[in-house]
């Protein structure tokens, strides 16, 4: 049976990428060796790393003043590395949910943090739009998409202060003015590849100002000066991320994927808004095009809905354990077909139970 993979992360990857990954796990480009057992100092892998770094910048349309590196530890380690590398006197954070809160908590272990806006008052169902930018912060930190609550920034704050963004769940999903940001980080496992690597892209001129001695592994400057290979990188995760970025490029780039993602989101939200049994859980203006969160108004028929989902091969639609309900994750590699299968199930379910 065809499985429709709505997992919120690690999320769906393109079939072509998986086929190539599977091949390379046995025999990488006819070298007679698996990529899993090849030295990271081999010319083959050095090329993979160089391609991955270059594709990341290309898809973000960034120039030579930026560097892209692939680290380990997920966005969660970035919550600590960002302030460690950038925070000197004060950092400003916008709190839009669980991951932003985690980022704030880790930054407070490093230095002075001001929360300049928050949507906690209404359980994170919106993106704050009116707030004052500080004049004296070392950087402002935002989270572009909230996988758990299902909200997403539609436009980004204009500010002279370095803007830092956790883009783990919507990197490479839409055209963004990347050069408005001083640093962007993203765990790979939603739109970029499998778990195990984290992309960090930054303007070189923001480094070296925090004035602290850094552990080598947590030092952006050292990592980029060593070409993202200070120590053994997560070879296979970087490789599969490279394949996924190449897949975006080969199919038409960010314009192509954004159009596809818009179509998928429109399809889904149209059904959600017209279906009498379901209800979206966040403000319409803040709806995420990556993770649509919703509930069944009548909890008594949840089991029936879930059994229909299962029959159609729909996997991973459960909401995050901290909030419940449902979550339709529509990452880059999810085909429109899967959305159609889901919306058909929702329609059919309404015919039966409305």
């Amino acid at each position: 049976m065809k499985i429709h993979n709505f997992s919120a992360g690690p999320g769906i990857l393109p079939p072509e990428v998986l086929r190539k990954a599977s091949e390379s796990a046995l025999n990488y480009n006819n070298t007679g060796l698996s990529l899993l057992e090849m030295s990271h100092r081999s010319p083959e892998f050095e090329q993979v790393m160089a391609n991955a770094r270059s594709l990341a910048k290309e898809l973000l349309n960034l120039g030579d003043e930026y560097e892209a590196i692939f680290l380990q530890g997920g966005a969660s380690l970035q919550f600590y590395m960002v302030p460690l590398n950038l925070l000197k006197s004060k950092a400003a954070y916008v709190n839009t949910g669980n991951w932003a809160s985690e980022a704030i908590a880790e930054a407070r272990k490093v230095g002075n943090v001001e929360v300049i806006a928050s949507s906690e008052d209404r359980k994170f169902v919106y993106i704050p739009s009116e707030f004052d930018m500080p004049k004296d912060a070392d950087y402002v930190h935002i989270t572009s998409n909230n996988t758990i609550y299902g909200t997403q920034w539609k436009s980004f704050p204009q500010t002279d202060i370095p803007l830092v963004c956790d883009m783990s769940s919507d990197i490479f999903s839409r055209k963004i003015p990347a050069d408005q940001f001083s640093l962007i980080y993203a765990g790979a496992q939603k739109n970029m590849g499998p778990a195990g690597t984290t992309l960090v892209v930054f303007r070189k001129d923001i480094l070296g100002k925090a004035g602290r001695t850094l552990p080598k592994m947590l030092d952006y400057e050292l990592q980029y000066k060593k070409d993202s290979m200070f120590n053994t990188p997560p070879v296979f995760s970087v490789y599969v991320s490279m394949l996924t970025m190449q897949w975006i490029k080969d199919n038409g780039g960010i314009e192509w994927i954004e159009a596809l993602n818009n179509l998928k989101a429109q399809f889904f939200y149209d059904e959600l808004d017209s279906n009498p049994l379901f209800e979206g859980t966040v403000d319409k203006a803040s709806r995420s095009y990556m993770n649509a969160t919703f509930i069944l108004k009548n909890k008594a028929i949840e089991k029936d809905f879930e059994s229909m989902l299962k029959q159609e091969g729909i996997s991973g639609l459960k909401g995050h354990r901290s909030v419940g309900g449902y979550r339709c994750s529509m990452y880059n590699a999810l085909p429109l077909e899967s959305i159609k299968v889901l919306t058909n199930v929702m329609r059919e379910f309404a015919h039966k139970f409305a």
Copy 2:
């Protein structure tokens, strides 16, 4: 052509493991999903993580007072995490080479470090045997095998002070008294799996004494309390590591692999010692059974030797760029056959050039 993979790391993995990894990258256990796109919270992956943690303890013959977790960042991040979690007043280190020196440098960023023994006086060609154990250190740190210089501890210091060991390059390669150690860490990419994950095994009672506020991602206690899934773990690297540990267990466990490794090392060193053209670079008593370092006495015929290696499909024999020469890495998955092919080349080369 059959490739004989002597890479010093990431190193060779068993063919059965690679076949299964390749399958799972397409369709994991007939779920219809690739393991690369499956949620780490799926029952399937939770089982993988539980198996991996349990196999690690089983192969080390450790009981309930120990925990095994799989982190990211390689041994290089452990160089910093160990002192961050354990160093209160003073730590003692033995300096046996490049990696030990790196560990010392990172520990000094955290607190007071005493180097209690070193083999730097003779460029790390031996393991120090006579030195005094401190009475007042929080822990003593050693590096069981030195991949670059090719030395290995044959027995371990007896001490009441918690013993910490970087076993990145010889974990699971021989029977060791693991319960003599309070903490063992190992990057996966030599004897345990592919790059991208690091095993950390520790006695639970050594934690919580350093008295500092830890970043969440660098806190052993938090990581084990969250069952090694505080955040998204490096799914595929943990999975392939689990397969490799299972491969050791299924073939006869540590006794089996130790006997095989002893045989391989004996075969290689016998040839090295009897061949007039080559010379080992470290003291015989300290020779590593994982990485045998050697040189050609006559540098003028290196190209001839290397061209013969290439003809026989021997890959990865070059010494580390910092020391030169040759290095025969004989990790667990390297078959005896590959050693025979190499020693045959060495013998044939001596017939031609001696």
